[in-house]
Amino acid sequence: MTRRERQSFWNGIAFTAPWLIGLSVFTLYPVVASLYYSFCDYSVLQAPVWTGAENYTRLFRDDLFWLSLKNTLIFAALSIPFGTVVSLSLALLLNCEVKGTPLFRTIFYLPSIVPLVASSMLWLWIFNGSYGLLNFALNPILGLFGAKAPTWLTDPNWAKPALVMMGLWGVGNSMVIYLAGLQDVPKELYEAAEIDGATPWRQFWHVTLPMLSPVIYFNVIMGIIGSLQTFTQAFIMTGPDGPPARSTLFYALYLFTTAFYDLRMGYASAMAWILFIIIVILTVFATKWFEKRMHYGR
């Protein structure tokens, strides 16, 4: 290294020093430690004891592990597609050049910055089976067909869909990202399509969607990572044990209670690593799927 190179090397180290510390103490060490704990019997109060792959083999025989995984995957499989459709539709509406869009954009966006604790309280009240706003609105409509609205959070079949619905209220973030993506689509493409006589529907299908695919990809990946870690809503609205009938026992919830209520930290770490692997696998699948269809042209 020349003197100049050496100097800039030390400059680089100096500037990134906070992060070098942060990265090692708050990320790298925990990652390594967690991997180690996942092969240990560890309760925090006592030193970890190496047990080999026992945590993993036991996990695969744990009914609650499979149940929580199933619940989480169902939740993700509902909330990602619905979330995409709703946020993309709102973005398309806002992309129409009519007066007042900034106001509407604000209204659609606001719920996504509401603290999750507060929106959980609010939706707990909205979903209330007897006095909730939702059933007040639904029951007259369902009454026409002789049906009755469910009690949502206390009904094992409807608790998950209820949490999905609540999630749709907070799609503002991805909506704004879609909107930015839409505004980046070159106008000439639509003009050309129009000259070719394409209907709005065909324009959407053959121009908008392909041009937007990188943004959709980004939002789907974020959706996978986020929904697999769903915790706060379920913890507050239904409870740490995932009632009713464990229908909202999500993976992160089971992991948290295993670690901090049962003090089985090694077992919980093994669960965390399995979650990590699941996220990586799903992300790779999504990437493969989008790569075939993705349009990078700008």
Partner: protein
């Protein structure tokens, strides 16, 4: 895109307005509920305006609650004998044997619910369509101490009356104290009071502000410095560090959760606010990435010129780059504030005692203690958590939206 036809334009508006209504209704419901007296939260169909009802009860004009609409022809009677002697009761006319002045009453006897005939005096006959009303009182909780009567609908005055005092009451009881104790109608205990018994809203707010303010300060300082080191200083190992930074963004929080808890435990910091803001001073992958992207758009020539003039690397960063980066600093500050204010899992992990709780954790604790019965207080407390965020948003809307859009497009 512009709708081509007037019809298209109208359709777009209809959809926008309908969508906004759906998105706004929960907020309105929150505010309306937070301003209602408790009995008006639990009625079907719900009312949209909190009201105060006034009626004449036993000769006095007082505020009342409307309990139910009398649907059948009924009689108001006084019991002359038996276990309920002296009580006024409202009975369906069919339970009265007018000729003999007796009525069939349900009594609790020897552990059994039984119906017997007792002598009664009829006060008056009540036609269907009247309201059963009861004296409204926040302090008298025992049902039998409250006056009640049956009055025609026309005699009830209803006027809009938002209960603003739900807010101070909710905030005062948020720490777990009883309303009676707060208002002084119940003597507070003097001996053996734990530090956690008397915690109130102000403590929670202070804790939240500490975590937010220090966190924002740390996030802005550390990420800017680090991002500069990754964007503008050319050094060996820089690209490797950046790649590693990006890779860590993939790691889900549960993987880090247990060891992080161990780290703070060994530092003796579990139970304090430190774990919630100290890490901000050591950078975060996402913010470093965001800032680095911004720094890359600043031409290198600016720095080079200063370097030739003998400016140190720190000088370049501090005097040239930082002043140019206000927009991205604002984005990082805002995002960090928002996530610190909204954070629930962090406080849940690290905080065990009420006097260290942040608002988000205190709200959850409030709800779990009161079992979600007093919706008006719960909604008021939630509104207090939401309103600062909304106000902040209105002042910084542009920065916000731009920041989020950037993350999606450039990511």
């Amino acid at each position: 895109m512009q709708p081509k036809t007037p019809f298209g334009r109208i359709l777009v508006y209809v959809l926008l307005v309908a969508g906004s209504a759906v998105f706004l209704f929960p907020f309105i419901w929150l505010l309306v509920t937070s301003l209602k007296p408790i009995e008006q939260t639990m009625i079907m169909p719900p009312t949209w305006i909190p009201r105060a009802y006034t009626a004449t009860v036993q000769g006095q004009r007082i505020e009342v609650t409307r309990d139910f609409l009398v649907e059948r022809k009924s009689v108001l009677i006084v019991v002359d004998d038996g276990p309920q002697k002296g009580q006024r009761l409202l009975l369906p006319e069919t339970d009265l044997d007018g000729q003999h002045g007796r009525a069939r009453l349900q009594v609790f006897e020897n552990g059994l619910q039984q119906a017997h005939d007792y002598p009664v005096t009829v006060v008056r006959v009540v036609e269907p369509g009247a309201w059963h009303v009861t004296e409204r009182s926040d302090t008298k909780v025992r049902q039998h101490e409250l006056g009640w009567d049956v009055v025609p609908e026309a005699d009830i005055d209803a006027k809009a009356s938002p209960r603003w005092d739900n807010y101070p009451k909710a905030l005062a009881t948020m720490g777990g104290r009883d309303l009676e104790e707060v208002e002084g109608s119940m003597a507070g205990r003097t001996s053996g009071i734990s530090q956690d018994t008397h915690v109130g809203f102000v403590v929670f707010l202070t804790n939240t502000i500490i975590v937010c303010a220090l966190g924002v300060l740390g996030a802005v300082l550390s990420n800017a410095v680090v991002a500069y080191g990754l964007a503008k200083v050319k050094w060996k190992g820089r690209d490797a560090l950046f790649a590693m930074t990006l890779a860590t963004m993939m790691v889900p929080f549960p993987v880090l959760m247990v060891p992080l808890y161990g780290v703070f435990k060994s530092l003796g910091l579990v139970g304090s606010l430190y774990p919630l803001w100290v890490p901000a001073f050591f950078g975060s992958a996402f913010n470093i990435f965001l800032m680095r992207q911004f720094f890359l758009t600043i031409p290198d020539e600016l720095g080079e010129a200063a370097r030739i003039d003998g400016c140190t690397e720190w000088g370049i960063f501090w005097r040239i780059i930082l002043p140019l980066s206000r927009p991205v600093l604002a984005v990082v500050a805002l995002f960090h504030f928002l996530s610190a204010w909204n954070d629930f899992m962090g406080p849940l992990l690290y905080l065990t005692r009420k006097h260290t709780f942040t608002l988000a954790l205190a709200l959850q604790n409030y709800q779990s203690q009161h079992g979600g019965v007093q919706w008006q207080y719960l909604m008021a407390a939630s509104a207090v958590l939401i309103i600062p965020i909304i106000v902040l948003f209105f002042f910084t809307q542009k920065t916000f939206i731009k920041g989020i859009a950037t993350t999606g497009i450039k990511g």
